[in-house]
Amino acid sequence: MNTAIWLVRREFWENRAIWMIPAAIAVVMVLIALFGRIDLMSISSQVPSRAFGGGFLLAVGATFFAVLSIYSTWYLLECLYADRKDRSVLFWKSLPISDTTTVMSKLATALLVIPLVYFAAADLTALTMAFIISVRASSSVGGALWHVDLWLQLQVLWIYMIVTTALWYLPVAGYLLVVSAWAKRAVMLWSILPPVALLLAERWFLGSHVIASQIGARLLGYPAVAFKDDPGGRSWETTVIDEDIVRTPTSIWHFFNLDGFLSTYETWIGAAVGIGLIVCAIQLRTRRTEI
């Protein structure tokens, strides 16, 4: 356990971007709150205050989450490769740490630790921005940002997304680790070429697109399985703004689809493939010392 903590700490030393990128986003967003023209902002009395507040929290969270997905992908692709490229793998392997522990520490960093850092950064940013905006903007805007139940919902949403995306993207993460442990150069190219080659080959020789649709589902299909599109009547609040009927969700709870996510075979086949690929990555880490 102690070793695991040191390994994660090591990742923070090596990859300062883990905290520097979210810190930079936070600074930019706080600057916008400080100097943006929000003092002119006002909301029509027709717009529900909760819809405005929820929209604000989701926008801040989504910004962090989008950057997080890109950074985690890059991190997984680079983490094992970097040790071989600079030959420091020879130093790490002189210590009594198994290759399994090493690979698992990288996986846990990418799927849990880094998302938690972004989660904390998103919360702090939203809190700071809400405070600044409350001071600067009109009371209707400021008041809309402080619905305690919306804040709680956002915390649950983050945790829910971290856990379900970790499970859903496990095969992608496993594949990236295999490339990172295996490639002699150009990890980016190696991460993209084999899947593209496979789906093109399938299309030319078999005329089908099973692989393409599987990869597509794995990369883009996440929200569809983890969330409900339309949880039904009780979940929406309808308002009329300038003769348009606007539906806003009353709360986030009805949109979670945890049952569905955990009961679809796709989740578990993906997890099994992911575990298989992670075992491969550990084997490659054991056998491939240098480039």
Partner: protein
């Protein structure tokens, strides 16, 4: 006590290339062994096998463990510097000490700190900011602070100047070495380690061509320089190598008849470097 390292028919192939060809050798505890061979002889491959960094064929036991299968356990009792400049560039010196102290049960922090205090290196510097010699000093401090039964060094002083090299070997022998430890070392600078080694292993083309203690080299091998008229008589004593020198011919013998040689010319013992050259240059010309 059983051997610390025991290799039987140790073989490693890279495709068609055979880097280690049924090598047999053993290393006893408490020794300082030099693994010596020309470039491409299989030195590095042998070390990698011993340290569990590569799979191999044949039998290999290090501290009663199979290195490749049990690397993690082996690394609690063995430490190594497999190459120069392999510390990651982004690592800070104090973090390096913290990390090894955190994960290694046999690491003695005070010792590493004391070793670094003798250098110009401060804790907050990153490896990338250090000169090649300083990088080596950091790595050596980290490695020598581990209470290991076996220390493996592959060209440990490459890139160091003569003062730093001498200081390193002095520290190795005086501060680090004791009867509980064993050191396996490879180097190109045979002359430099000759007086600290207790044993040598010569390796050539993947095979061990000599496995001897230094004491045995003195009693087992001899060379004699003879002038033209004695050459036939000297050759009759079956030298394994000869080379011309200043108008004479130096002939090298294994287990010679010392009385007969003394009658031919001045007999002298062989240095490790002499023996290495003689053994690897092949038979009598």
């Amino acid at each position: 006590m059983s051997a610390l390292i025991e290799a039987r028919d140790l073989t490693k192939r890279y495709g068609a290339h055979v880097a280690l060809d049924r090598a047999n050798f053993s290393v006893e505890p408490g020794r300082i062994v030099g693994l010596i061979g020309p470039n491409g002889a299989g030195k590095t491959t042998a070390l990698r096998a011993i340290l569990g960094l590569t799979a191999y064929e044949g039998e290999l036991k290090v501290l009663d463990r199979e290195p490749f299968r049990e690397r993690t356990e082996l690394m609690r009792d063995a430490s190594f510097i497999a190459d120069v400049a392999v510390l990651p560039a982004w690592l800070r010196v104090d973090h390096a000490i913290d990390f090894v102290a955190g994960v290694h049960p046999r690491f003695r922090r005070d010792r590493a700190v004391a070793l670094l205090a003798k250098t110009q290196i401060t804790g907050e510097r990153r490896i990338r900011e250090l000169s090649k010699g300083m990088k080596t000093q950091v790595h050596l401090a980290l490695t020598m602070a581990i209470d290991a039964k076996l220390l493996v060094l592959d060209e440990p002083t490459l890139g160091l100047d003569i003062l730093a090299r001498r200081a390193f070997y002095d520290a190795l022998v005086n501060d680090y070495m004791d009867e509980t430890r064993t050191i396996l070392i490879t180097t190109h600078q045979v002359e430099e380690v000759e007086n600290l080694l207790t044993d040598v292993l010569f390796i050539n083309k993947g095979r061990i061509v000599l496995d001897s203690s230094l004491d045995d080299i003195a009693t087992r091998y001899a060379a004699v320089a003879v002038a033209g008229e004695s050459l036939e008589a000297a050759r009759a004593e079956r030298p394994f190598h000869e080379r011309p020198m200043l108008g004479k011919v130096v002939l090298y013998y294994e287990q010679p008849n010392f009385e007969k040689l003394a009658a031919l010319g001045e007999v002298h013992t062989l240095s490790v470097a002499d023996l290495f050259v003689a053994k690897l240059s092949g038979g009598a010309a």
